[in-house]
Amino acid sequence: MSQGYKAASSGLGGIEAYHRHIRFKGLLLCALAVLTFLLALICVNAGTAKINPMQVLKTILGGGGEKDYIVIWRIRMPRVVSALVAGAGLSVAGCVMQNTLKNPLASPSTLGISSAATFGANIAIIAFGAGTILSTAGDPVSINNPYLVTVCAFICSMGAVLIILFLARLRGFSPESIVLAGVALSSIFGAGTTLLQYFAPDILIAAAIFWTFGDLARASWNEVLIMSVTVAGCLIFFFFQRWNYNALSNGEETAKGLGVNAQRVRFWGLLLSSLITAVTVSFLGMIGFIGLLGPQIMRRIIGDDHRFLIPASALAGSIILLAADTLARVVISPAVLPVGAVTSVFGGPMFLYMLIRGRRGRA
């Protein structure tokens, strides 16, 4: 192997500057982690049942009364952990999709997975009778068989993923063909949902629409566990691929020249991003903008280096979803707004603001 040039023997200022630059990014990640932790505590403390913060802390640490235990551990903690896990998963899924599809606007909804999940949920609610309307004042619309809805949503969303990956394979996995296949599938599933609802009674349409509102309260500890294992596994995989994603950020030819099997990286990136999306949407419903906002905000702060962008996007996604959920619960308490609506209401204008301010770099 030829040397090409000599390693720097003097003037190592560049390396020191590089280390300072890396330290800054490391500190930023620590700050985000602390912010996530503090926000999680605030989120646990927020709610209709008034429990003082010390009591909340005591209950988390294993003390406190039975009522506090039920409120904290059975109601609020699954919700907070759902926000942490789903926020991190959706945000990193967006980050990986933006990289592999070479499209700054790619997000978990780009490939039509959310539309497919909605179609699946509509089949369960309308065709299989999993939805109904209750007469109780607090929660007039209800899904009486949430597992059936989740399973149908998951099957449809994974079906969409497999169709897209199969179609894309026919065209050599070019990002353009994948995005176009996603648009087409999204349209097909959207039409399917419209047709189902067109022939359904009002009660079931209401239940189906209710399902599409993203809601963190739907997840029990069982669902949280499934989501956590899926998201954690995928995030670890993505982190191992960080140098490949860095190479792909510089264009496909450069990546191939650096030894990256671009098609394989793209296939696994899309499959696992889609898996995160399918699991999250099936359990929690539609939660928009996290996959777009989280990585885009972090890209502007931390740059395109996926060694830092992946963990930073995960933390940003958790922060955004925790903040949105807290807001959803306190803004018109005791009523709770759908968290998906809050992320979209605040995410849309924020995204426009970011676009108007100008982009720091390419996705």
Partner: protein, 250 residues
């Protein structure tokens, strides 16, 4: 180290672009691939680096068929600089450090950092190390792309029209850098070019393509008024200037 190409054929969707291409370059060689637009110069370079897989023939580096090398092993032997380099939003140092990717197991080691710094110094890019690569001029970006390929410590460097978007000063500087590096480090360089005078200034070996086949290959003596007319369809005069040839279109 020698790069040998034997009977290479490649086509897009059944249309044959390259047909029975055979040549070799050895350490210290600077070779220029010449020909009209669309003749397959860039395609040939991409086949050499397995960005495109040739459909027939063999490409061997150091006696090893590149089809048998894994991606990282190939990237350690052959570096590639694309015609227009796209960069992610990173610092210049990070962009060059990425060239160490074929060697990196978990994260960049001290040696990777020192090699990246060494390349930056060699290409006079040290002062830009912590600047965003997208803030640089076209010429500086091209140098960063070359630096990244050099950080791969390859045996053969491939350049796809490295001077096409540069002004005259930067064209000459980039050509000078490539020549110096090849001379200093015992690499081989293969460059696609349009400017015949720049090619004559840079290369010692020429491969002229016509209709997807090699029309002529050899030293500067193959660049004659007749061969240029046959390949480019242009009448030129060849004059001697300062001990080397100059091509003057009529």
């Amino acid at each position: 180290m020698k790069l040998e190409v034997q009977g290479l054929c490649f086509g897009y969707s059944g249309r044959r672009v390259l047909n029975n291409i055979s040549f070799s370059v050895a350490s210290g060689d600077c070779a220029a691939i010449l020909g009209t637009n669309g003749v397959g110069k860039s395609t040939l370079l991409k086949c050499l680096n397995r960005i495109l897989r040739c459909q027939e023939g063999r490409i061997c580096i150091g006696g090893a068929d590149i089809r048998g090398l894994d991606g990282n092993e190939l990237a350690r032997r052959i570096g590639y600089v694309a015609q227009t380099s796209r960069f992610a939003d990173t610092t210049v140092f990070d962009a060059v450090l990425l060239g160490r990717k074929p060697y990196i197991k978990w994260d960049a080691t001290r040696r990777d950092l020192e090699l990246a710094q060494g390349v930056l110094e060699r290409l006079s890019l040290s002062e830009y190390a912590m600047r965003s690569v997208n803030e640089l001029s076209g010429g500086e970006m091209q140098k960063v792309a070359i630096a990244r390929a050099l950080a791969q410590q390859p045996d053969v460097l491939l350049f796809d029209e490295p001077t096409s978007n540069l002004d005259l000063k930067n064209q000459l500087e980039v050509i000078r850098i490539i020549r110096e590096i090849v001379r200093e480090s015992d690499m081989a360089a293969i460059v696609t070019m349009h400017d015949l005078n720049l090619a004559l200034r840079f290369a010692g070996k020429f491969i002229m393509l016509r209709n997807g086949e090699i029309y002529a290959a050899g030293g500067p003596e193959i660049l004659t008024a007749e061969s240029i007319r046959d390949v480019y369809g242009v009448d030129v005069a060849i004059e001697a200037y300062g001990g080397s040839k100059v091509v003057i279109p009529r």
